[in-house]
């Protein structure tokens, strides 16, 4: 017998096991290995998904087990898609998504670009910058709540220092105009380091010889930036956008701690609204339809985005 990994694995197989699997085809052995995983996938992901789709056509309520659910067809979907309040939640989510990603990419890339330069204390600064993302969102939400407090909050005092306004004259969390920005600021503060790390990985993956060749060709720094740095970091940036997009679409804890969805429903993101429908109002059927709509939206957008990402990587 040759000394290959397969041969070594065969030798290491206990005789009783070897006897049992003797005669099994490769396909059968493969099924034995992947079977448990497929079973778990079906039990934990696929079955609940199918069950949720089924529930979405009923008026089932999980807190009313005694009541027989009725088949309501597409009524739940119709209600959701024609509910102006839900569209406002969608708008709030879109605002949050767009601006958090915009600022995180902008600041994250800038920080990565600066950190990538060799300077003294580089590692220390990297550690300091990534600290916020190591904190729990609940903790971050709570302490930013204090920072935004109009009477004693540091944030208000800093703004007041630069603008000359009275610190208690504006409420970041209580104002309809400012509250959506207050959650954008906190999420940006917390997750920009994540984008920075991904960008840093991208920047460090660019071989020096490419820049050296550009130097030889007398390309300016600006030209190098736009024709080497940006294109080569772009797949990494797009990956960061994908991660942050998916994460922020399901944003819940941080915003609940900060604003509870208020004032009014100004910062009530779809995930907060969905949680209220499903586990506070217990409208399980309705919430299932809501979840399916969100799933299709995210899945559809993510699929298109991943295709675009692959095309960029192929270039």
């Amino acid at each position: 017998m040759t000394d290959t990994p397969a041969a070594r694995a065969a030798q290491a197989t206990p005789p009783n096991v070897a006897r049992k699997i003797k005669g099994l085809s490769d396909r059968a052995i493969a099924w034995i290995f992947v079977g448990p995983t497929i079973f778990l996938l079906l039990a934990i992901n696929i079955f609940p998904l199918i069950w949720t789709i089924r529930l979405s056509f009923t008026n089932f309520k999980a807190n009313r087990i005694n009541r027989e659910p009725e088949w309501v067809g597409l009524r739940n979907y119709e209600r959701i898609l024609t509910d102006s309040d839900i569209w406002l939640n969608m708008q709030a989510t879109a605002h949050f998504l767009f601006w958090t990603i915009f600022f995180q990419v902008l600041i994250g890339f800038t920080l990565a670009y600066l950190i990538n330069k060799k300077f003294k204390g580089n590692d220390l600064w990297t550690t300091i910058i990534v600290l916020p993302m190591m904190l729990s969102p609940a903790v971050v939400g709570n302490f930013w709540k204090f920072l935004y407090q109009p009477q004693i909050g540091l944030f208000n005092y800093i703004v007041a220092f630069f603008t000359g306004k009275d610190p208690s004259s504006f409420e970041m969390l209580g104002s309809v105009d400012l509250a959506p920005w207050s959650i954008v600021i906190v999420d940006t503060w917390m997750w920009t380091p994540f984008v920075m790390l991904i960008c840093l990985a991208g920047l460090r993956s660019i071989p020096d010889y490419i820049y050296e060749a550009a130097e030889v060709d007398r390309a300016s720094k600006l030209r190098q930036f736009f024709t080497i740095t940006i294109p080569m970091v772009l797949p990494f940036l797009m990956l960061a956008v994908l991660f942050r997009g998916i994460e922020n679409f399901k944003m819940f804890d941080l915003v609940v701690q900060l604003t509870g969805g208020g004032p009014g429903s100004t910062t009530e993101l779809t995930s907060i609204n969905l949680k209220r429908e499903a586990f506070e109002k217990w409208r399980t059927g309705y919430a299932s339809a809501y979840a399916i709509i969100l799933f299709v939206t995210v899945f559809g957008l993510a699929s298109i985005y991943v295709k675009a990402l692959n095309k960029v990587k192929e270039r």
Binding site: N63, Q149, E171, G174, G264, F279, E280
Partner: protein, 440 residues
């Protein structure tokens, strides 16, 4: 008061000794409630039960903002974490209809516990389902209502009194109407007292659970708000959005905008207490349950504080708080849990409950001649309990509550739309809920 206490304690021992006779095996019982001052008093009180019955009492206290979520999840999943639950009054419908609570009629009959021994408002609100019928799912455990407290030292300061007289033309005193309440709060708003800027009052504006609804209804009820034109009809048009209701909601918004500290856009019990204890506000609304602790506070309690009932406007009206104690149907220690309820219903235990800081709903305590003078807020408590109104207690109460939270927060705090629109939309939401429930 001293005689009252001595009599209670000595009778407690005797009564408990007789009532515990025949106790079977010792059990570990878990009682679930919200985490607040009265819960600590109940722990103290329950030591007597442990000593007499041989059972061990464990407690699961959940902070108020998560209390409903946590406990309703527990009940809906058929969990047996709690043998006894002091659940909010609004849960009684769901508790009864969904089979979470044990019906107590037979037990009460067998043990000679009469609901006539408890204040009628509390029996109606905490124990019965359907409302007002003699079907009992809880024993009134903790009477409560939303009331007010204020800085007595500021209200009796001659300079402040003179300034108030000059500003309003009347004497500075406990407000007798809702409009006086607002006027008084506006007087204190951004006033300099002891070199510090203070504000009018802290009111409930919390969005997530029940806060702003409890605050707004404290204005709606005195204006004469009704949930239905005819009780049990679910006919809300003209009742929920009556001109009086619109005026009351506009009043609450004006109160929020002109007489509360900045930043109190999402405040409930804890924030109200903090605002008062930190000397930021002249007045604050909160549940009577907190009043013993406030009175005992070394910085702002004692002779610096006094209390008043939610002022009337068109009529007297206070928002009901409080809870009944129920036996959870999923518990496998129901006998021991019922034993606890039997012990708790004893008049002497009820007397001690009040002494320790719990609000007994037992007539023997409330009708005691010494009760009114037993605490500075006792008289106000009695007055409040005489005019309480509660939110819907329907099985779908959570949906009804969250709809109201959204509509009134949108209007009061987020300043969107008009009061009329908010109440019209609320009727639409509630109609949808009752249609889903098959009640409309």
């Amino acid at each position: 008061m001293k005689t009252f206490k001595l009599a209670s304690v000595s009778a407690l021992g005797l009564a408990a000794a007789t009532s515990m006779a025949g106790t079977a095996q010792a059990e570990d019982l878990t009682l679930c409630w919200a985490a607040w001052d009265p819960a600590n008093a109940l722990v103290e009180l329950s030591k007597e039960f442990e000593a007499q019955s041989g059972h061990t009492m464990n407690f699961e206290f959940i902070p108020w903002p998560n209390f409903a979520d946590r406990m309703l999840n527990e009940l809906n999943s058929g969990g047996n974490l709690c043998d006894l639950l002091i659940g909010d009054s609004q849960w009684i419908g769901g508790g009864a209809e969904n089979g979470h609570y044990v019906k107590l009629n037979d037990f009460f009959d067998a043990e000679g516990i009469s609901m006539d021994d408890f204040a009628p408002a509390t029996v109606y609100a905490y124990s019965t389902w359907p409302k007002g019928t003699p079907n009992y799912y809880a024993l009134p455990a903790m009477g409560d209502a939303n009331g007010w407290f204020y800085r007595k030292d500021w209200f009796t300061d001659p300079d402040i009194m003179a300034a108030f007289k000059e500003a309003t033309g009347r004497d500075l005193a406990e407000p007798k109407t809702q409009k006086e309440l607002l006027e008084t709060a506006q007087f204190f708003q951004e006033r300099e007292i002891d070199g510090k800027t203070v504000y009018g009052a802290s009111i409930f504006t919390e969005r997530g659970s029940e806060g702003i609804t409890m605050g707004v209804t404290s204005a709606l009820y005195p204006w004469g708000f009704k949930y239905e034109n005819t009780p049990g009809s679910y006919d809300m048009e003209g009742a929920v959005n009556s001109p009086e209701a619109v005026e009351a909601l506009e009043f609450y918004k004006e109160f929020y905008q002109t007489a509360t500290p900045p930043g109190y856009t999402n405040s409930y019990m804890g924030e109200s207490l903090d605002a008062f204890k930190s000397g930021q506000v002249a007045m604050a609304m909160n549940w009577f349950a907190f009043f013993p602790g406030l009175y005992a506070d070394p910085a702002t309690g004692g002779d610096k504080i006094d209390f008043f009932v939610n002022p009337p406007q068109n009529q007297a009206g206070s928002t009901l708080g409080g809870q009944g104690i129920s036996v959870v149907s999923y518990s496998d220690k129901q006998d021991a849990a019922l034993e606890y309820i039997k012990w708790f219903a004893n008049p002497d235990v009820q007397a001690k409950w009040w002494e320790l800081g719990g609000y007994s709903a037992h007539n023997s305590v409330l009708n005691d001649p010494g009760f009114k003078d037993s605490a500075p807020f006792a008289g106000d408590f009695l007055e409040a309990m005489g005019a309480v109104q509660d939110f819907w207690q329907e099985p779908a109460y959570a949906e009804l509550l969250l709809a109201m939270q959204k509509r009134v927060h949108d209007y009061v705090v987020a300043d969107q739309g008009t009061a009329q629109e908010a109440l019209d939309k609320l009727i639409e939401d509630w109609t949808e809920v009752f249609e889903d429930e098959g009640k409309l």
